[in-house]
Symmetry: C2
Subunit: 384 residues, 2 copies
């Protein structure tokens, strides 16, 4: 297949090697040193100086007033939703094109994800389509957005910064305000990405990050909650540490809590990774430029580039096929993977997955189209 | 206060130092080596050789056919309950004297903990009291145990091996069988504890372990599910890895899953810790013997020792006050902690906590009594 072969050649040309995984971490900084310090201190679990330091440095870097480190991005989103008041029977607006964790976290609260469309310009939720949809399908009752068809309250809106690209936060914040929705940013993929110079995850009431092994920086498994609200920050810490009330020895828990704190061992790795974040971001941008260059002459495809007013972390490089060659997505995936270049499609749209098939959704023409046309390319910072 | 001073003297005599925390881990084995190997491999996240190895070695050690490593003991219990078929509206029998995680995990399934009494002989659920209680308060309908008062199905029974001491599994298994209850062992505290020569956590349909920083061995944060059932083992792995169906590149999730897998980084620490488990167990037993010796002449108190037919890991050493001096518990806690010897009472009984106050419970005279009389002593393996 000619197109697949051209793409393979362009990838190999950009990364200067013949084989590559989709994303792997780089550990060339203080990882070993800090992890050893952590072991020496015996504080490897949920209390320790690396957790405190990681949280402080995350807050400093993102500009959020508070960062609370947790076991993973899914846990971060779960707690953020609980704190936003999402309850059993509610609905939460989620893009259909996203990783399953976004919808799972909503389900954990007993609520239903309500899927809305993505836009091609940012890959995130389309604010204009969202506004039109809410205009037709919801009504306001006592300051609450109600889904006319189901009668359920739509409590929150979760923009996701897909592959690290900031979505249109300005547009989405206005819609959230106009429709009385709490905005929670799923910034799992976008550490190091900025919208109008402000870090993603710091626009809504709460934002969440992920440090899974495939992310821009990793703690093995890990995530964080970002917020500017001190009360929410305290509550996040409380809820993620089994809701134990402070006492010299008594074990009293004043609500149902979670065992979601990030262990100090993982935070030690994270502190070392965070030191290298600027370098990783430069590498990823360099890789983007190289892919751009080498794919310039390949017809029917283009590399997705950061939206206007944004600076993206380019977490996962995304190739977009023209409509005319969308049917070749699977053969291209087949040939690139067989050639030792790990590529993958976008996630299956969430509203199509068995567990979410019965959830409400808006018309999703753009998400449907993007699903057929996206191919992620090898994206590790270590490639260039 | 004379009793408190006698206890302080006895503790200091046993551990040969003046100050001690309640429990801290020891890292004198291959911890640094394995963690470094893990970092060098770049596989620090949810896939890697240490996770596989830790699971295999846990299975070998406990005699369970399968072990599935997860982020913590709470997550292990949550998944075990889901797999046991616990659903929204069900009730699950839980000892009132236990750590809050046992009840929280039940709540995560939308079910209610139904608290039953502990016994002084094992500190765990009293099988005889349980049988009498179920006899009076439940009826069988289509092979299901129904709480007559609430009309809800009582789906499962969770014995907890308190402070590492095996509860009366023989008695509890018989009750579970007679009343159609799924038995799930919360063996969070009892790695290295055996009942009749068989490891705790391997008696029920499923068992769970914890490797939190305060446990006999630690992975920073971590837990495991034990089972002999291959289908359940596969399903546990599936549910804890976002329920993603295997495919070369497609992202399809066939049910609501969880991000609960133990990271390889934490498993690396666990592999090193597991190598030292026999040594830790010897130390803890030696510490028990020393405490016994030094407390022999202190009136009105005795050290809790492993129940008949059991070999306990002696995770947390427990002093029991006689009824006549139960009122001195708090002054003793005050004086020991002030002297730099970290002691603590048992957990506040779960049925008294705000989030569980409205849950059903049996008469709890023994749990009430134990709560007033237990004081845990410094218990680290490194103390002797």
């Amino acid at each position: 297949m000619e197109l697949a072969q051209s793409i393979i050649a362009a990838i190999q040309n950009a990364i200067d090697v013949n084989r590559a995984v989709l994303h792997e971490p780089s550990f060339y900084g203080n990882e070993s040193k800090y992890v050893q310090e952590c072991i020496d201190s015996t504080f490897v679990s949920s209390v320790g100086k690396f957790v405190d330091r990681f949280e402080k440095e995350l807050a400093d870097y993102t500009g959020a007033k508070y960062a609370i480190a947790v076991v993973n991005g899914t846990a971060a989103l779960h707690i953020a939703l609980l704190m936003a008041g999402v309850e059993s029977g509610d609905e939460v607006l989620v893009p259909s094109l996203s990783f399953v964790a976004t919808a799972n976290a909503v389900h954990y609260c007993g609520a239903k994800p309500h899927f809305v469309d993505n836009e091609e310009r940012t890959l995130g939720i389309d604010p204009l389509a969202l506004r039109n949809y809410l205009q037709d399908s919801t009504e306001q009752r006592s300051g609450m957005c109600i889904n006319i068809e189901t009668g359920c309250a739509i409590r929150a809106l979760i923009p996701v910064h897909i592959f690290g690209h900031p979505c249109d936060l300005e547009g989405l914040l206005t819609v959230a305000k106009d429709y009385n929705l709490v905005l929670i940013e799923d910034a799992a993929e976008s550490l190091g990405s900025f919208f109008n110079g402000k870090h993603t995850g710091t626009f809504g009431l709460l934002g969440t990050l992920s440090f899974n092994g495939n992310k821009t920086i990793t703690t093995g498994g890990g995530g964080a909650i970002l917020t500017d609200d001190q009360e929410l920050a305290n509550r996040a810490k409380h809820l993620t540490t089994t809701a134990k009330t402070p006492h010299r020895w008594d074990y009293v828990h004043d609500e149902v809590g979670y065992n979601y704190r990030m262990p100090n061992l993982n935070a030690a790795l994270g502190c070392a990774q965070l030191e290298q974040l600027p370098e990783f971001l430069s590498s990823k941008r360099r890789l983007f430029n190289r892919y751009c260059e080498s794919l310039r002459d390949v017809e029917y495809v283009h590399l997705f580039s950061e939206p206007e007013y944004c600076r993206s972390n380019y977490w996962l490089q995304a190739l977009l096929l023209d409509d005319s060659v969308a049917s070749q997505r699977d053969p291209i995936l087949e040939e690139t993977n067989s050639a030792g270049l790990m590529t993958r499609p976008a996630w299956t749209l969430l509203h199509k997955l068995t567990p979410f098939q019965d959830c409400p959704h808006a018309p999703l023409p753009i998400a449907e189209s993007l699903e057929q046309r996206i191919i992620n390319l090898p994206s590790s910072a270590g490639l260039v």
